[in-house]
């Protein structure tokens, strides 16, 4: 089960070129639930995900999965435990949904080993879980944005990892499709126990769907806890430099953030 894993960033420092994005970050990712990472633009959210999934080599410190540094773990072995759906993957032209989802089986297949019934079953399960079964033979390029995002999630599911990281899976989707994706991820977490870590921009959706909310600022973990603990007016000011009111969302009993801009504000900032 997924709670048997541990994923831990220790003194992690990562960057691109001369720029350091994440600095001495310590994070023990809570297992078994949905963790949502929030933070201002360029605070290191995506960088953190990429470092945790071995895409970026750390400059300092390490990421440890089940007691072993991910950068010392063979790539395929890691990809059987830890999956990542990056921000903008590209679908090869004309590829069908079933084919694309089948690519998720890559870490389970050897150099020349044949396609097994287990592979077919994993693809079928992934399509069923994401309600994309009816699209199986359709080219991915013909799908709507919401459908396409579900197909990418299906590919990540076919990988059958106990931990799944998703980098802004709701970008470019309208509000109903955003909810659809987050509902789907919640289903997966509740039914399969998959540990899910999502980077999200929308704080209110983050607060609604997160079991654990992680706020990053300047490449450091500023706060980690339940949405009620983390989504406070002080944290929002510290992380986003934004004045706000936080109320209780009557539809979910989760915190709801109301930003205060310079205009159209009737309360004192």
């Amino acid at each position: 089960m997924t709670t048997a894993h541990t994923l831990h960033a220790q003194n992690l420092t990562v960057g691109y070129g001369t720029r350091t994005v994440v600095q001495d970050l310590d994070l023990r990712v809570p297992m078994g639930g949905i963790s949502v990472i929030v933070g201002a633009n360029a605070c290191g959210k995506s960088t953190l995900l990429r470092a945790m999934s071995r895409l970026l080599a750390p400059r300092g410190g390490q990421v440890i999965l089940d007691g072993r540094a991910v950068h010392q773990t063979p790539a395929k072995e890691l990809a059987r435990t830890l999956g990542l759906l990056p921000q903008s993957p590209t679908a090869p032209e004309g590829i069908t949904v079933a084919d694309l989802v089948g690519r998720g089986r890559h870490p389970h297949q050897g150099l020349f080993s044949r396609w097994t019934p287990a592979d077919d079953q994993a693809v079928a399960d992934a399509l069923t879980a994401t309600e994309t079964a009816a699209l199986a033979d359709r080219p991915v390029d013909e799908l709507s944005g919401g459908q396409r995002q579900r197909v990418w999630i299906a590919m990540a599911l076919a990988q059958q990892t106990d931990i799944l990281l998703l980098d802004e899976p709701t970008t470019f989707l309208d509000v109903s499709h955003q909810l659809e994706v987050l509902d789907l991820l919640t289903d997966l977490n509740r039914s399969r126990g998959t540990t899910i870590v999502i980077v999200l921009h929308d704080l209110n959706l983050a607060a609604r769907y997160a079991d654990h909310l992680i706020a990053l600022t300047d490449g450091q973990v500023h706060a980690l806890g339940t949405p009620a603990e983390v989504l406070t007016e002080e944290t929002i000011r510290a992380v986003f430099g934004l004045d706000s009111r936080v109320v209780v969302d009557p539809t979910s009993n989760k915190p709801l953030m109301l930003p205060l801009g310079r205009h159209h504000t009737t309360v004192e900032r």
């Binding site: 395929k76 990542l84 759906l85 998720g104 699209l135």
Partner: protein
């Protein structure tokens, strides 16, 4: 969409997935089989038919080493090495080209557009004409130059990762420079004849000798299997570097192996036959259209390349009053296709 809403379904069985996959595999196998059969036919025809026509029986006799009057020289010494090199070089160009196109996710990123063939060609022309080296040294010269140009183009276009368009534009510029270098080498040659010139500018199989064929056969036997082991990794890397890494592909590692193997194939073939115009560029997209999406294109594309070269060489020799080098024929086919592809890519932003 309406059909889907009328027929709501939520699940799919593993058997259905397997069925769809088998259908696609069957189609791919059929295409590969047909292409291979066509190559055999074209190969046999180009051995039998010519100024003098021999029966397949005679040709087989020559291949088996029997001494047949006339045929032993014409088929054994002239046609056989030439047709063999056509098949082998075509395979090299086809598989090398589609490897680059797949890896860089752009059909324009083929080695004959981005300067790798031009580099190998310029080096080979220099090695033969200016330095007077033999076949093996020429091959080494060509492969080193091909790799050097590949690294140069890659290095020059590297800025926070490699963007396809930048790499292609830089490659085109370098290719133009190298082509003029080839022309310069040719113009300085003591006794440069039209045949030599056409070989290094557009590719030609005229006067092929076994000593030129052997290195290419060895290169294909060694390097093609290396590429085939990377086939799955290449397919996964089409999803983008991040997605591929997340699937357990060592992207940089794959890229290095694949570049060396593909450049090697292109360079060996170029050292023997010159940069046969557009074959590397055409084979992948043609194969993609025949095989359909989702399948690995390495083998189909190699076969398409081979069929193109064998057929074009045969047409070039006998279909017109004048004998044209093979590259002229493939060039005539390739240039309009290039235009078509650019127009189409602009519209759809397609990958291959």
């Amino acid at each position: 969409m309406t059909a889907l809403q009328a027929l709501p379904r939520t699940g799919i069985s593993a058997a259905e997935i397997a069925g769809g996959r088998r259908r696609r595999t069957a189609r791919r196998r059929l295409v590969v089989g047909i292409l291979a059969a066509l190559i055999v036919v074209a190969f046999v025809v180009s051995l039998c038919v010519g100024q003098t026509t021999y029966t397949p029986g005679d040709v087989l006799g020559v291949i088996l080493g029997r001494d047949i009057d006339g045929a032993s020289f014409t088929v054994g010494r002239l046609r056989l090495p030439r047709a063999t090199l056509a098949v082998i070089a075509g395979l090299c160009f086809g598989i090398g080209g589609v490897t680059f196109q797949t890896m860089l996710r752009n059909p324009l990123a083929s080695p004959d557009i981005i300067g790798i063939s031009a580099g190998a060609s310029a080096a080979a022309a220099f090695a033969i004409i200016t330095l007077g080296l033999g076949a093996t040294q020429v091959s080494i010269f060509a492969i080193v130059a091909g790799l050097g140009i590949a690294l140069l183009v890659y290095g020059l276009s590297f800025k926070d990762g490699v963007v396809g368009t930048r790499l292609i534009l830089i490659g085109i510029g370098i290719a133009a420079m190298l082509d003029s270098l080839t022309a310069y080498v040719l113009s300085k040659a003591a006794q440069w004849d039209l045949q030599e010139a056409s070989r290094w500018l557009t590719g030609s199989l005229n006067g092929t000798r076994w000593s030129e064929v052997v290195p290419v056969v060895i290169a294909l036997a060694v390097l093609a299997p290396v590429l085939l082991t990377q086939s799955r990794n290449l397919s996964a890397s089409q999803l983008g570097d991040d997605a591929a890494s997340a699937l357990g592909v060592r992207v940089e590692h794959t890229r290095i192996i694949v570049i060396i193997a593909a450049v090697g194939l292109i360079a060996f073939a170029t050292a023997a036959a010159g940069p046969i115009a557009f074959v590397a560029f055409l084979s992948g997209p043609i194969a993609a259209r025949i095989v359909g999406p989702g399948a690995s294109l390495l083998i189909p594309s190699a076969l398409v390349g081979s069929l193109l070269v064998v057929t074009a060489d045969f047409l070039g020799q006998y279909a017109f009053g004048v004998r044209y080098p093979v590259g002229v024929i493939t060039g005539v086919l390739g240039a309009p296709y290039l235009v078509y592809l650019i127009v189409r890519t602009n519209r759809s932003g397609g990958s291959l």
